[in-house]
Symmetry: C2
Subunit: 340 residues, 2 copies
């Protein structure tokens, strides 16, 4: 039998109201009563219902998180750091994996509302009309992590994707590559699609490097699409000497495709990734990548959201974190090669 | 302003009790009243509080999940399939990442109890006394996924780790390897530690293959420990010609260590993994591995748990799923080499 609040009251010889006041940490409860109640709670093994207390306090300590793909190393690392920060602040995560199923997302947002979550974190930018309407209507703080949707009403915790992509491309140009292939993302995505493509395109034209139509491809950020797009890049008459993929997963797919075609990375083709996920260190050659501060991104997201929940007035402008190019083994310096 | 149940009642011209009866799907509510209430709900955009309904129905539709490491591809894939199955059954997941922090786990289990989760899934087997006492005391169904703790009271959804490990070792022996190194797990873990080690040991002795003390090492399932333990294996006077690591992560670490010592996989040393995670296909050479049916494991776990929640009488014996050796490129056949 579940121990009830009235059992505690009876055992302690006090009223239910007194037990309730002790549980809610109210002032002006005599120490004597307080210790009798606490002793009774311990002796009976009473666990107060969070649900019942939520109704009184209007606090659920729940955060709803929408993840596009739990099996991606990038998202699971952000999630892991969000979880750490939430736990340290006594918040619990309702985790929803949408696998790009928009209907599932809308259903989840409804659940979040019904569960009275105190905040919502969204990690993708494919926001359609019903979802847009929903998140604008609800009175729950919403924050975007690692992405920026078309809508300006919410805070995004991101890096400067345009600048990061510009610098990654410039790095390959400075290594002496004159033909640089590009494997981009979904062009409906502003941050990871459009901005990264613009960064590549402008770095190329600013350096006077020719943009080749056949060298520009788009995937879905996953390993397989990196492989498939690389296959297309290898099938053109003059394949590029370097390839920049806008996710590490696609870059690894590209590396494997190059290898499976009996070519070498980086001797024949250099490969540059984006994200700085765990994969960069796992593959051989290790992957040069434009890194996002993944751990910090999760921490800052929770930090800003907790402030919004606490009702603090925060700036509604985006939080832009630092990116960093980490050179590893997958990119060859062609200048040195020429000098040799 | 939040729309309240009394606003709905007023708008529909019925009593609060009637609205409540409609919301709870009770019988014997006249169709006419039902449609008036539903119309009012729609017109006012009323979202009934899941919290309040939980109190009435004693149903929270919440499942608590304890994950040892969200950033591991193995666990995030199981979690993703648990999530899919939960969502299809209108359950939501409270996800807790413990990172081997036992205090954090106990705190989370308390939260699960207070939140009145309907079931708990645990994915590690390091169950200490306080946790054991806790899960024995609570009246909530608990199930273990991919692991089997020392305690027999709960159902585990697992593979036959002993047999799988035995077959993996036998495969290497049949490829002509006479010295087979072993990188095991935590020997306090029954399934992934002890059983996998026994499988290796018995396959070796059954085949009359010598067990070499210096060839047996233990790690923590993660990439880095596979790398570090492999380094030790390479430093002995006669390193083994094949290495069996009991997780794919450790196997990939071992492969990288071999490569960094200017040796080749599989020409110089063959490597066998365990789990069948995404990594097996990402690395080059691709990794031969003893595969667990990861997706199915998540689905079956939720399936059994949902039956327990529904109060169905289920067999308390473990659910043992099929393992499968998937041969890829990382293991060399020495018999063929000799014949050449």
């Amino acid at each position: 039998m579940q121990v009830k609040i009235k059992d505690v009251a009876k055992h302690a010889g006090v009223s239910v109201t007194t037990v309730s006041r002790v549980l809610n940490g109210e002032k002006y409860v005599k120490d004597d009563l307080k210790s009798r109640v606490n002793r009774a709670i311990e002796e009976l093994g009473y666990a107060p219902s969070q649900i019942a207390r939520s109704l009184v306090r209007k606090k659920t300590n729940l955060i709803g998180v929408i993840v596009p793909d739990l099996t991606s190393s990038f998202y699971s690392t952000i999630l892991s750091s969000i979880e750490e920060m939430a736990s340290a602040n006594d918040y619990n995560l309702l985790v929803c994996n949408i696998s790009e199923d928009i209907d599932k997302e809308l259903k989840y947002l409804n659940v979040f509302q019904e569960m009275r979550v105190e905040g919502i974190i969204i990690m993708h930018e494919k926001i359609n009309e019903p979802i847009r309407n929903f998140i604008h209507k609800i009175k729950i703080p919403v924050i975007f992590s690692s992405v920026k949707p078309m809508d300006q009403k919410f805070v995004s915790v991101i890096i400067d994707d345009y600048q990061a992509s510009y610098e990654a491309t410039k790095y390959l140009i400075e290594l002496g590559h004159e033909t640089i292939g590009f494997i981009g993302g979904d062009m409906r995505d502003i941050t990871s699609g459009q901005n990264r493509y613009s960064g590549y395109r402008n770095a190329m034209t600013d350096a006077g490097t020719k943009l080749v139509f056949e060298h520009i491809r788009f995937g879905d950020y996953k390993v397989k699409s990196g492989y498939d797009q690389m296959k297309e890049l290898l099938s053109v008459e003059h394949p590029p000497t370097a390839v920049f993929a806008v996710s590490d997963d696609m870059a690894v797919g590209a590396m494997n495709c190059i290898r499976d075609h009996n070519l070498r990375v980086p001797e024949d083709i250099s490969v540059m990734g984006f994200d700085g996920s765990q994969l960069t260190e796992l593959v051989r050659p290790t992957l040069t990548s434009m890194e996002q501060p993944i751990q910090q991104m999760g921490k800052v997201t929770m930090d800003v959201l907790l402030k919004q929940i606490a009702g603090e007035t925060i700036s509604m402008s985006d939080v832009v974190l630092e990116h960093r190019l980490v050179a590893r083994e997958s990119c060859r310096n062609r200048n040195e090669a020429t000098r040799m």
